[in-house]
């Protein structure tokens, strides 16, 4: 992939680019002076530290520090925000979280909303990732065909990815309400207007549907890139052997696409566990708590609920973080193995 694009630009624009870049060049030149000094001090490899520093600083202050504080937070109680004003209670919050008659039945738990959220998230992840992968794969396979205006078709499926979750949630909430488009479209078939989002099954169904709708295009593009990397002559050879499409798919496409599929699976899994924005706007977690997922539980318990309990929210978020880490490591391990297998092939 060529990196230089300057040579292909029309000359009229390069003049503007030079003008815009001039102050940037100046600043960069000025920065170079202390940079050289620093380089003399630390040597070549030491400069890595300099380059890494800003990112790591922001990262430490705004990600690592809160993560560490979170652990401490989860050992405190009270409604104060600042750590110094909170009361230490040891592992009490965790005890409350794990205080359950049976882990499979949230109603026997002290923190029943937490376990309901965990169970909901588990079910959601299984269904949503499955549907997402199938939809993304199907879309990628179709987009990989020789279509005219492929750019347009790609755009069609990628469009919702760019929408903000608030917009996504609002659009579908608007369509699914009692006086909305879906009911209107179904009325000629004799269906009474139905409040879709007030029914536990349908609210879940549409939570899955809307999140797949919003993100499928992204994964489809990744898979499409993977499909396009498969050498054409493999397909041509198969066509000469009059192989059926399903056979081609199983024997050629799928194995060669596996690394990309794994990547997509990991990303989709991580995203699905963290689902919040669009579902929150769409259903608000309702009906009851049937579309409340773990992120919303943390948000409600830590911030929004009138019965807020930041310590408990903190403990819950630690547990969620642990699950995510385990999931990712497992998936990375599997993908590592697959890559090695693929390389040997």
């Amino acid at each position: 992939m060529t990196a230089k694009t300057a040579s292909s630009e029309p000359s009229a624009r390069t003049g503007l680019r030079q003008a815009l870049l001039a102050p940037v060049r100046l600043v960069m030149g000025l920065v170079d002076i202390p940079m050289r000094g620093w380089q003399k001090l630390t040597g070549l490899n030491g400069m890595a530290g300099v380059f890494l520093a800003p990112n790591m600083l922001i990262f430490t202050v705004f990600v690592l520090l809160p993560l560490v504080i979170n652990f401490i937070y989860s050992t405190t109680s009270g409604s104060a925000i600042f750590l110094q004003n909170r009361t230490y209670v040891g592992a009490d919050q965790y005890r409350i979280l794990f205080d359950c008659g049976s882990y499979l039945d949230p109603s026997t738990c002290a923190a029943d909303t937490f376990w309901a959220a965990v169970r909901n998230t588990a079910v959601f992840v299984v269904f949503q990732v499955t549907v997402m992968l199938i939809a993304a794969l199907a879309t990628a396979l179709i987009l990989n065909r020789e279509l005219s205006n492929r750019g347009f078709w790609r755009a069609v499926f990628f469009f919702p990815v760019l929408l903000s979750p608030v917009v996504v949630g609002l659009i579908w909430k608007w369509i699914l309400q009692r006086e909305g488009l879906l009911n209107y479209a179904l009325s000629p078939f004799g269906f009474e207007p139905f409040s879709w989002l007030s029914d536990r099954f349908w609210a879940f169904f549409f939570a899955v549907f809307v999140s797949v709708w919003a993100h499928m295009g992204f994964y489809a593009l990744i898979l499409l890139a993977g499909l396009q990397a498969i050498p054409r002559d493999l397909y041509e050879a198969a066509a000469m052997d009059s192989a059926r499409p399903t056979r081609i798919f199983r024997r050629i496409t799928l194995p060669l696409l596996m690394p990309n599929l794994i990547v997509v699976l990991v990303l989709a899994l991580i995203r699905a566990v963290q689902i919040f924005d669009e579902v929150f706007v769409l259903t608000g977690g309702g009906p009851g708590t049937s579309t409340m997922y773990i992120t919303q539980y943390i948000y409600e318990t830590g911030f929004a609920s009138s019965l807020r309990n930041p310590g408990l929210a903190s403990a819950a978020s630690i547990l969620m973080g642990i699950v995510l880490v385990i999931l990712t490591l497992v998936q990375l391990g599997v993908s590592n193995r697959n890559e090695k297998k693929g390389a040997r092939q």
Binding site: S77, G78, S79, A80, I81, F82, T87, S107, A110, D112, T113, A116, R178, S195, L197, S198, R200, T283, G284, G285, G286, P287, G288, T289, S290, T291, M292, Q296, E300, F303, A304, S305, S306, L307, R308, N309, G311, L312
Partner: protein
């Protein structure tokens, strides 16, 4: 090049404004139920003209922001200088005592003293603000729908069961919803008390949920299940999120709405003359026909950097003439004792509004004793929140009613224990 300059200027403006606010600023966090935002803006602009050294900024936000974000800001020692709040008692430790800063504290005691306890910690005599209006929960009836259905509107002694039956008849005949109650624990507390509930135990701590509350709540759940009440309202969100049921009423799709007097101004604007509506007090339970008194209070926040300017603004807004004008234009029942006792000339030619406000004032006399104590009780908010969160789970089919009662008690206990 000029475009670059203006872009640069805009950036500079944002950079400057993103720096923290400076002295002389008084920031008011305000939410509106109806048209009162315009009124308060107008009143404040007059203050600003007379006091150019005080920069009053009115932040109009949605009710959710006040309910959900403000408490977190207060816990972090942040927030506006003045806020219009419904949950006054539980966060009372965050309000500023204006007593030493006011021009005439006695005037405040005389005119706002009756509700002062609602917005200060127990045992304190601080003056933290005033009620922007006094509200009462009660029912709104779509008279046109009842007429078209040929159903008589139940009288003042009618019970909840009577109302449910009548509304259902109207709903079946006119193909609308029968009844709706806002998604709020506060809203169902009046009816709970009408059936004999008492939230406050002898020692001032929350009592377990009692038979009176269970009597009404079981009816409420039953009506949600059999379709008398549109269950969308309570089921459309999780946790303690507030949802108003007024939308269906405004669209003429609801026969009976149980909400409160703060809706009157909004109804005047939005319903216009699409249909006739009346206010009908609170239906009776076995013990009383009570609603809940309350309202939103305008309170000063302890963490303000300009307490003297805040006191100036509060003194201005508490003045009798300002109170009278505010109430008359916003179609509110004023809390100011002097103004309420005098003649009110509500600025509306909508006959329904006049009648409704009058009906609310009359119905206020029906408020039962337990209901009067709740606005000034520290744990009211915890009780309301627990009820709304758990009962909506029952309505959504996630939980049995008996389990919900146990959970409500547990939730409240956890809150009292200081989580």
């Amino acid at each position: 090049m000029t475009r670059m300059k203006s872009i640069g200027a805009a950036f500079a403006a944002v950079l400057l404004s993103s720096v923290a606010a400076h002295a002389g600023d008084v920031r008011i966090m305000w939410y509106s139920d109806g048209g009162e935002g315009e009124v308060i803006k107008d009143l404040l602009s007059r203050f600003s003209k007379a006091n150019p050294d005080v920069n009053v900024i009115l932040d109009e936000v949605s009710y959710d922001v006040v309910k959900e974000q403000l408490p977190v800001q207060l816990e972090a020692g942040q927030g506006p200088d003045i806020a219009r709040v419904t949950n006054l008692k539980a966060p009372a430790q965050h309000w500023l005592d204006l007593r030493p800063l006011l021009a005439d504290a006695k005037y405040w005691d005389d005119n706002f003293g009756a509700q002062a306890d609602w917005m200060r910690p127990d045992g304190s005599n601080a003056i933290t603000g005033f009620m922007t209006q006094l509200t009462l929960t009660g029912g709104f009836v779509n008279k046109t729908l009842f007429e078209q259905a040929g159903v008589e509107i139940p009288g003042p002694k009618a019970t909840w069961d009577d109302w449910a039956a009548a509304a259902k008849k109207v709903a079946d005949s006119q193909k609308v919803f029968a009844m709706a109650i806002d998604r709020s624990g506060h809203r169902v507390s009046g009816p709970n008390i009408s059936y004999g509930a008492n939230y406050i135990a002898a020692d001032g701590k929350p009592a377990p949920i009692d038979q009176g509350a269970k009597d009404f709540l079981s009816r409420f759940v039953k009506w949600n299940e059999d379709g008398t009440i549109n269950k969308d309202v309570w089921v459309s969100a999780a946790g303690t999120t507030y949802r108003s049921a007024a939308e269906d009423f405004i669209n003429g799709g609801l026969a009976y709405l149980y909400s409160g007097s703060w809706q009157v101004s909004g109804f005047a604007q939005k319903i216009g003359d699409n249909f006739d509506w009346v206010m009908a007090g609170s239906p009776c339970g076995s013990v009383a026909c009570s609603g809940m008194q309350g309202g939103a209070g305008l309170v000063a926040v302890k963490y303000t950097k300009n307490p003297k300017d805040v006191a100036k603004v509060m003194d201005y807004l508490a003045g009798a003439d300002v109170q009278k004008e505010f109430a008359e234009r916003s179609l509110f029942i004023p809390a100011h004792k002097g103004v309420a006792a005098g003649q009110m000339d509500f600025k509306t030619d909508n006959p329904h509004v006049q009648a409704a406000l009058k009906a609310f004032v009359e119905a206020a006399g029906q408020t039962a004793a337990p209901a009067m104590k709740l606005p000034g009780w520290k744990w009211s908010d915890a009780y309301y929140s627990a009820i709304v969160a758990r009962i909506s789970q029952v309505i959504a089919g996630e939980m049995k009613l008996d389990d919900a009662y146990a959970r409500i008690d547990e939730d409240i206990k956890a809150k009292v224990a200081g989580n």
